[in-house]
């Protein structure tokens, strides 16, 4: 890889007390690349993802987005301003949606663009409509989250993140809390983003989806990246015993 990485994680380490959750992880992602992170529960996938926008600060190491260091050492006040700027460029979607229940779909999407980018009501509305159309949710623009299904909520959450026009999107098991029949609509929205060459890092338990959509797959276990490569290599001919075990269990689980 000669190209300058878009996202550059350098020697990331994280401990809770004596528990080392991330152990010296380095990861480069190119612009437009789609990376899946798989691995057993507790292996540190969420922690790594949440370190990228500093939701879970690293104990050691650096995170870079293009030529900006996300976790730049700064005095608290300056850091707050800096990280709020950085986070506007890093979209994130959570397992449990985290939609704002007191706002309509429109309110959820327009809030941050209006507050942070000073868009007018008309501009923000046009933006909301565009992003909702993108995930097939335009007809629910005036609904409250409590009136939506899980799959619909998650698509709105994706639209909300996209409305900030981020450079990269982070997904943390966004279909894990959904009823099986609602998974596909969310996967479709993500596939569409993939086709538009959004840079994405996707933590997932769905091996099929990772195989279909991603350029690279990382297998994590106990705070390290055990193995990584193109999906056809990781899924068909994994080298490490831990990867093989994990995939064996997981593919079996999926077959049931």
């Amino acid at each position: 890889m000669t190209e300058k990485p878009f996202i550059d994680i350098r020697h990331a380490a994280k401990s809770y007390g004596t528990l080392e959750v991330l152990k010296d992880i380095s990861l480069q992602v190119q612009k437009g690349q789609i990376v899946a992170i798989i691995g057993p529960s507790g292996s540190g996938k969420s922690t790594l993802l949440r370190a990228i926008n500093d939701l879970d600060p690293l104990t050691k190491g650096e995170v870079w987005l293009e030529d900006m260091q996300v976790n730049k050492p700064l005095p608290p006040r300056q850091y707050e301003r800096h990280i709020n700027q950085m986070r506007q460029q890093i979209g994130m979607v959570f397992q449990h949606f985290n939609l704002f229940p007191h706002l309509t779909v429109r309110g959820n999407i327009t809030l941050a663009p209006k507050m942070l980018k000073k868009l007018s009501d008309a501009e923000a509305n046009a933006l909301a409509e565009r992003e909702l159309a993108h995930v097939g949710m335009l007809d629910r623009i005036d609904y409250y989250p409590s009136q939506l299904s899980g799959g619909q909520k998650q698509r709105v959450a994706i639209a909300r993140a996209l409305a900030m026009e981020p450079k990269v999107m982070l997904f943390d098991e966004v279909t894990s809390a959904l009823d099986p029949e609602l998974v596909e609509e969310v996967n479709l929205a993500m596939k569409k983003l993939a086709e538009e060459h959004m840079t994405m890092i996707i933590v997932t338990h769905e091996m099929g989806f990772a195989q279909d959509v991603c350029d690279r797959v990382l297998f994590m276990d106990q705070g390290v990246v055990v193995e990584e490569g193109p999906p056809e290599v990781i899924f068909r001919t994994p080298k490490h015993e831990r990867t093989k075990n994990f995939l064996r269990k997981h593919l079996q689980g999926n077959a049931q």
Partner: protein, 218 residues
């Protein structure tokens, strides 16, 4: 002296004016108690220690002493240090701050109960801590505690009778005025009770309306 309810209608206007003042003082104190309650809750949970401790003392004073005494202190006591408030204003401040402390407790519980994911969701979009608290956490907390706050507002309406002692001509005081002229306490206290009851009904209907309106938005 026998009971004679026929004299009540001739004091109808007086009781109506009294009801008007009761509604006015309750409404003004309710708004103050709500806004100040939110402020106190936010300071108690997020404020710097420099603010938190004086406010805790303030809260303790308003919870640990009788409302009647607080009204006397604000209306009669403050004059001594050069603050001469009209009775109505003193009443609003006394009632408002007293109930603000109770509302603050409820709102604090509401804030603590807001899901952590809401905070993360907002911060992830780039909102600052203050923006997140103001636009996401507090509005949700307040919506979730409307029923207990509503109960406080009903208590506030009833306790507004206490401001009669500092001379606000609200419902209880107008009833007393009518009694001093007619010597028919039973009829007029009962008439005042009926007025309180009617105002209460309207207040409760209003609260139910608010609860219905925010039902979806939670």
């Amino acid at each position: 002296m026998g009971l004679d309810f026929t004299i009540v209608p001739s004091y109808f206007t007086l009781l109506l004016i009294g009801s008007g003042w009761t509604i006015a003082i309750t409404a003004a104190a309710a708004v103050l108690s709500f806004v100040a309650g939110i402020l106190l809750a936010v300071i108690a949970l997020y404020g710097p220690a420099l603010l938190r401790y004086p406010f805790r003392l303030f809260a303790w004073l308003f919870m640990g002493t009788p409302l009647l005494l607080q009204l006397f202190l604000i209306y009669f006591g403050l004059i001594q240090i050069g603050i001469d408030l009209p009775a109505f204003v003193a009443g609003v401040i006394g009632l408002g701050l007293h109930f603000a402390v109770y509302n603050s407790d409820i709102i604090q519980a509401g804030i603590v109960a807001v899901d952590r994911g809401q905070y993360e969701g907002a911060r992830t979009l780039g909102l600052s801590r203050v923006q997140t608290i103001a636009r996401i956490v507090v509005p949700q907390a307040v919506r979730s505690v409307i029923p207990p706050i509503g109960n406080n507002m009903i208590a506030l309406l009833k306790d507004s009778a206490l401001v009669s002692v500092i001379g606000v001509t609200e419902l209880t005081l107008t009833a007393q005025l009518a009694i001093s002229k007619t010597f028919h306490p039973f009829e007029f206290y009962l008439a005042a009770a009926a007025c309180y009851y009617l105002i209460n009904l309207v207040l409760e209907a209003g609260l139910r309306h608010i609860e219905r309106r925010i039902q979806l938005a939670r």
